[in-house]
Symmetry: C2
Subunit: 435 residues, 2 copies
């Protein structure tokens, strides 16, 4: 069958998703038009849409759960691993959290239109910077269907149009959630193309989405490192990305020992699978002899496997060897690499060489070293006397988070509504001209 | 001759710039190492380097002018056009301005280390954002040798390492300026690789510079649209770019006529070759009949050629036709396109469709329409009752400007020292852990 015949067979009211290029172009055009409208939409209309989505989701609980059950059955059959099935699964508790999330985003302050630093200039003009939406945001993610709603709500509240591309595992769940999003937009009088969920699982759709600079202003990939690396390499539009989190806690000789123990244990054992979990503990030599055995006991109680440098092993004895590869590994598991270092310079050199510029903490009561660590460690979050687990949009007070950026430009660290905006200059005059 | 033989022929003390890949990699490595050091350098050392560069340039005046004379002679011979020869030419007045620029950048506040919005969170931690350098900045520019010094000074003051690639026309001038930069860095005890000027005119050097994400964090191209488009297309690192400036002034029916005349004339005639010059005048229908003839007289006195829409031509008679292409053209010349529009929505639709999102102004005394224009026009600078010519780092109070960004991410509009930094999160705790 030729492409021509294929197209003419098709009901023109339903987008023909077999022609991926044409389909993605149509999504892009729709998003670009919607972005122009969304820029002008007031806070009340955006909040009304979010609350209407919450209501529609409440009413569609059984549809969404039935769709999710179809996804789960199909993926279980095709052998998806248990951890991914768990991420894919929805239940009433998860739906409650999704509905609650919409209500919370509606309650957040609207960043759009905020003007900072308006100042008078000698010429008589006043100059300031106004927060404005980025435009069209493409989000590419994997199995968790709740990301569909989170991403939709954050893009909407920040005045952007969104094109969402979820994992093929969640296709039925995402379609059911997309119906609630569309219904909510429509009820608030907003264009349905303000949030579009890509309705094909064809992998070429991703390739198109990341190479339409005329329609898409930024791509945010959420998923494993290989997905993000591929997208960064191939994208023809800017990418806000989150690579791995090889996070460190450095216990300085000037540390309060109780704080050091609490932080080092919490940063590793509070949750293992998160990007802000400590993966390498650096301990200053003067404290190593006394502190490492206590720490080893605590980690032992949590079933954390320790791998050490030579000096660590000389103190702790029977633990594994930390190799070069260990220092660079995001375990996401109850495994911890430990290195004894000689002071803050040695610690910072290790972090510079092996870290991933995500989140790093120092434990110390020494003012000068705390100050140096804050200034000199080049990570998206740098902490003094706090657990790396705090690197999180909610803990930072952003209200919500679309991801954590390990980039250097635009947004670093947790990205909330503000990270989905940028600032344009506004100039207020009274007839001024350049002399 | 094989590459091997070529390399062994070469004095190892002088970088072998015939092997472009190896040469650019060495520059990249040097810059990355310098960036780590520069992050930690205090304001006094950076200022000392800037002032030492100014002194060295003062002492090297005759060397720099002699080098420039060689560039001019060679390029005149090979037929470089007069406008480019003018940009290339240095004289004592231009050297004065360059020296003065260094002193001014030294006097600017250092953005690095500034902490914004430090707030206490319910968990007991305090969270804020600290300005930090971007890292390694690659700057690619054309014939003007003074850009070498401007770019060096701004990257240095903002704590970044820089790799500068100027035009081949200015190669001797840039080499002479680079010697002053190196001497200034050395005198202040800073690494010479903090600012490196690419010493080859081989075009492949640019290709390498924009595809080394391991060494270069951001590329800033300064030059014509075709250069910038090519770099944006091919770069494998983020680009802060400035495409064209198709700037509009919209004279609203609610305008004060005197302000409208002053702004419309100034925005076009103050300077023709700048990106913030008005290229299209939009005039609200109720004012067109009375205002256009007065404006045409004023433009006539300045020798500005007018091209109009049908309604404009019906009023002004004997002027050229503005075609579709005119609405999209950055003339950079004494030519102006004029369109009569029906109110603010029509004006904003024109700007949305044909503008380049650079700088657009409304002239009005109507509060509601001024407010709408500011909020809804999606350009890097949006103005009320002021000439578009104010879109400039100095006029905005940034102290200096490395360029004007027409991007949506990171920096929009004039980019000063702040635009060469980003913000990381800092967390101050007292032993807090996640519950």
């Amino acid at each position: 069958m030729t492409a021509q015949a294929s197209r003419s067979d098709h009901d023109p009211a339903i987008p023909d998703i077999r022609d991926i290029d044409a389909y993605m172009q149509r999504l892009g055009q729709g998003a670009r038009e919607a972005a122009t409208l969304m820029r002008r939409v007031d806070t009340a209309a955006k909040n009304a849409a979010l609350l209407a989505m919450a209501e529609h989701l409440e009413q569609a609980r059984s549809d969404v759960l039935a769709a999710n059950a179809r996804d789960l059955a199909r993926e279980r059959e095709s052998g998806l691993e248990a951890a991914l099935l768990d991420r894919l699964a929805l239940d009433d508790r998860r739906l409650d959290a999704m509905i609650d999330g919409l209500v919370q985003v509606a309650a957040l302050p609207d960043p759009v239109g905020e003007i900072d630093g308006l100042r008078s200039r000698p010429s008589g003009i006043q100059v300031g910077q106004m927060r404005v939406p980025l435009g069209v945001i493409g989000i590419i993610y994997e199995s968790r269907p709740n990301v569909t709603l989170e991403a939709a709500s954050l893009c909407l509240k920040s005045g952007n149009a969104a094109i969402l591309r979820g994992g093929s595992e969640a296709r039925d769940s995402n379609a059911a959630i997309a119906a609630c999003i569309r219904a909510g937009l429509a009820r608030a009088g907003l264009p349905e193309s303000a949030v579009q969920v890509v309705a094909t699982t064809d992998r070429n759709a991703v390739g198109r989405l990341i190479s339409m600079p005329e329609y898409v202003d930024v791509i945010i990939p959420r998923g494993g490192k290989s997905l993000i690396e591929r997208i960064t390499r191939e994208a023809r539009v800017p990418v806000i990305k989150h690579l791995d989190g090889v996070c460190h806690v450095y216990i300085d000789a000037g540390a309060d020992v109780d704080k050091a123990l609490a932080i080092a244990v919490n940063a590793k054992t509070h949750r293992y699978g998160t990007c802000n979990t400590m993966e390498t503990l650096l301990i200053d030599a003067p404290l190593a002899e006394t502190l490492l055995p206590t720490l080893a006991l605590a980690y032992g109680e949590h079933g954390v496997e320790l791998r050490g440098c030579e000096r660590t092993r000389a103190i702790l004895g029977d633990i594994g060897v930390a190799s070069e590869a260990d220092w660079q590994t995001e375990y996401l598991a109850p495994v911890l690499a430990i290195r004894v270092v000689d002071g803050i310079d040695d610690a910072m050199a290790h972090i510079e060489r092996y870290g991933s510029r995500h989140t790093d903490a120092i434990v110390t009561e020494h003012y000068g070293r705390a100050r140096r660590f804050l200034a000199e460690v080049d990570s998206s979050s740098v902490m003094v006397n706090a657990s790396t687990r705090f690197a999180d949009g909610f803990e930072y007070g952003l209200g919500a988070e679309i991801g954590i950026s390990t980039d250097r430009l635009h947004a670093r660290g947790p990205v909330g509504l503000e990270g989905l905006t940028s600032r344009k200059y506004v100039v207020l005059g009274d007839g001024q001209v350049r002399r």
